[in-house]
């Protein structure tokens, strides 16, 4: 017989109390695991969405007079200083190239359509539509791209030009069919512009290879945006590479809030579990005062009593931690994403098992230490009273 056997036998005898402690730890650990994994998923989801919802790095010519494109300062197309298509392959050579999810070059040209001054945007449609996932296009189904002789109109541009789907607009002497109209987005650069194939516009404007700016969406959920910006600046001479701070700050704020929420709730659950363990073990020790007195009388040292009580708490906490992990992880995998409406898959994270067991063991031992210490210090004569 070892001290562990005494602890195990006591646990078997006090099934209800043992179950209460296991359930308490299980609920605490399950909630923390669920909260942690779903919060991670929410963070990832938000980051993905923020990354998807537009560019977060803008590449412009380094000098020249300024013009405004939707509140973003860009170079005037009339200036000599222009970018060209050769920059795009260069961008794909930086160290963090895998973070560059979308590279959307644009050529901005002012022109007259039906007697009105209109901003023509030559875009790489596959890249542009990937970048502007929030666009609601009337006339094109999801994944469908306009042809070379087709254009997409912003909602304001369509109204002011009096054009509707499948009608033809004459641009620089060439006819283009309206393939789609963007439903109002609330941003000037989308609503007032006419989008045309980049190569076609370069040809029409007689500026082969020319581009005015490059919008880039970097998946910077984990990447250092400042480093990516520096790498692009270094590799693209004559350009000004700017990280859009507002996007980043907004994303950081959101993530910070999620983190704060998760940590606060986890702390509360940790304290609640600890309290339940302390109370359960305290009550268990009080119930066993006489038994502890017997053990002390027959020569058990204080550390033996400590060892028995802490073994009990440790074993129950480990069991609670294991069940809590299975419950929390199972709930997160099956319902987590749906519950928080995140469009990400929450994978089964077996690496969290170690943390769950470690944390539950720590809670169990710390929360039981005071009752165990009190038990160890019991005076055997007092415990056996009648002596």
């Amino acid at each position: 017989m070892r001290l562990t056997d005494i602890a195990l036998q006591n646990l078997r005898r006090r099934k209800m109390r043992s179950a209460l402690l296991v359930i308490s730890v299980m609920i605490g650990v399950a909630s923390i695991i669920f909260l942690y994994t779903t919060t991670q998923a929410m963070k990832e989801d938000v980051a993905n969405k923020l990354d998807q919802y537009g560019s977060n790095i803008l590449i412009l010519p380094d000098t020249g007079e300024a013009m405004t494109f939707g509140g973003i300062t860009v170079e005037a197309p009339a200036q000599v200083k222009e970018l060209d298509m050769s920059l795009i392959p260069l961008m794909k050579t930086i160290k963090n190239k895998e973070t560059l999810a979308t590279i959307a070059p644009k050529l901005l040209v002012n022109t007259q359509i039906n007697g009105q001054e209109i901003l023509l945007l030559g875009v790489d449609f596959p890249q542009e539509l990937h970048l502007k996932k929030w666009w609601k296009l009337e006339g094109l189904s999801k994944g469908q791209l306009p042809a070379k002789n087709e254009v997409i109109l912003g909602s304001d541009a369509a109204r002011s030009l009096g054009l509707s789907l499948q009608q033809t607009a004459s641009i620089k002497g060439q006819d283009f069919k309206v393939a789609a109209i963007i439903q109002p987005t609330g941003s000037v650069e989308n609503d007032q512009a006419v989008f045309i194939d980049l190569a076609v516009l370069q040809k029409l404007a007689n500026r082969p290879n020319a581009i005015s700016l490059i919008e880039t969406a970097a998946f910077c959920y984990t990447c250092p945006i400042a480093e990516v910006t520096q790498q692009l600046t270094a590799i693209l001479p004559g350009t000004k590479v700017t990280a859009l701070k507002s996007t980043l700050e907004s994303r950081n704020d959101t993530i910070r809030q999620f983190n704060l929420f998760a940590r606060s709730v986890s702390l509360i659950l940790f304290l609640a579990s600890s309290l339940v363990i302390t109370m359960t073990m305290k009550s268990s020790v009080e119930e066993r005062t006489r038994e502890i007195g017997i053990l002390r009388a027959i020569g058990f040292r204080k550390r033996h009593i400590l060892q028995i009580i802490l073994t009990e708490a440790g074993l129950l906490s480990l069991l609670g931690g294991l069940l809590g992990y299975l419950l929390g992880m199972g709930a997160a995998v099956n319902f987590g994403a749906a519950l928080v409406k995140a469009q990400v898959h929450i994978p089964w994270q077996s690496n969290l098992l170690g943390y769950a067991l470690g944390a539950s063991l720590l809670i169990g031992l710390v929360a039981s230490f005071y009752p165990a210490w009190k038990a160890a210090r019991l005076d055997p004569t007092e415990s056996l009273r009648y002596i």
Binding site: L3, R12, R13, I298
Partner: protein
């Protein structure tokens, strides 16, 4: 030669009515191999004296010397070791651990030794055989009669082969037949060389002991031999 020397032992308690003097300058010597009865009315201080001699309850003043060891000069953890090595207790209400079988209860003092489990089991079974409960070793305390529980308590007290057995009113809750069986068991253990000190208020028990010490109001009154 004395195995136990109780020297000028006084024990006071702070109670609601002020300081209560449970033992007053008690001097007592007990030789190795004695079967001693501590006799006295309720509240006379006999259980207090037993707990002091058993290394459970330090005196307010005075000394306890057992086998030339000044018991209460020992550090608390060494005192626990001393109890483990020298003393076996048989408590009034048997005090078995209810969730352990008879065999496991007997094995308890061995749980803090380095003896392998098999050896512990064999030793416990041997003493259970000795007290006549070898066939009930897997029963829980609540599946045993009062007399049987008392025998398990005795087996637990002797399994570690201590020099001393302290028994506090061991026959208090037994019928006369079972009480006699128990006293005969004590006598047999005493014949094997164990020193036994038994607290009792039952004069019938004195027929089995080798010496009786009377105590009243915390003072040793007289001694009687058998």
């Amino acid at each position: 030669m004395s195995l136990i020397k109780v020297c000028e032992v006084t024990k006071t308690y702070k109670g609601g009515d002020g300081v209560v003097e449970a033992l007053k300058n008690v001097n007592l010597e007990i030789a190795e191999g004695e079967f001693l009865a501590l006799m006295g009315p309720s509240g006379s201080g006999k259980s207090t004296l037993l707990s002091i001699i058993g290394g459970l309850n330090p005196p307010t003043s005075g000394k306890l010397i057992i086998d030339d060891i000044d018991v209460y000069a020992l550090e608390p953890e060494r005192l626990a070791d001393f109890r483990h090595e020298y003393v076996g207790f048989v408590f009034q209400q048997y005090q078995l651990i209810p969730y352990l079988t008879a065999l496991e209860n007997v094995m308890l003092p061995l749980a803090i030794t380095s003896r392998p489990g098999k050896e512990q089991r064999e030793m416990a079974q041997t003493v259970l055989d000795k007290v006549g409960l070898g066939n009930k070793s897997n029963r829980l305390p609540n599946q045993l009669s009062g007399g049987e529980q008392n025998r398990v308590a005795i087996a637990r007290a002797i399994v570690n082969q201590p020099a001393l057995i302290f028994a506090d009113e061991p026959t208090g809750s037994l019928d006369s037949k079972t009480a006699i069986e128990l006293l005969e068991l004590f006598q047999a253990l005493n014949r094997d060389g164990l020193t036994i000190i038994m607290v009792t208020h039952n004069k019938e028990n004195l027929a089995w002991v080798s010496r009786t010490v009377y105590i009243r109001d915390g003072v040793l009154e007289a001694e009687g031999g058998n």
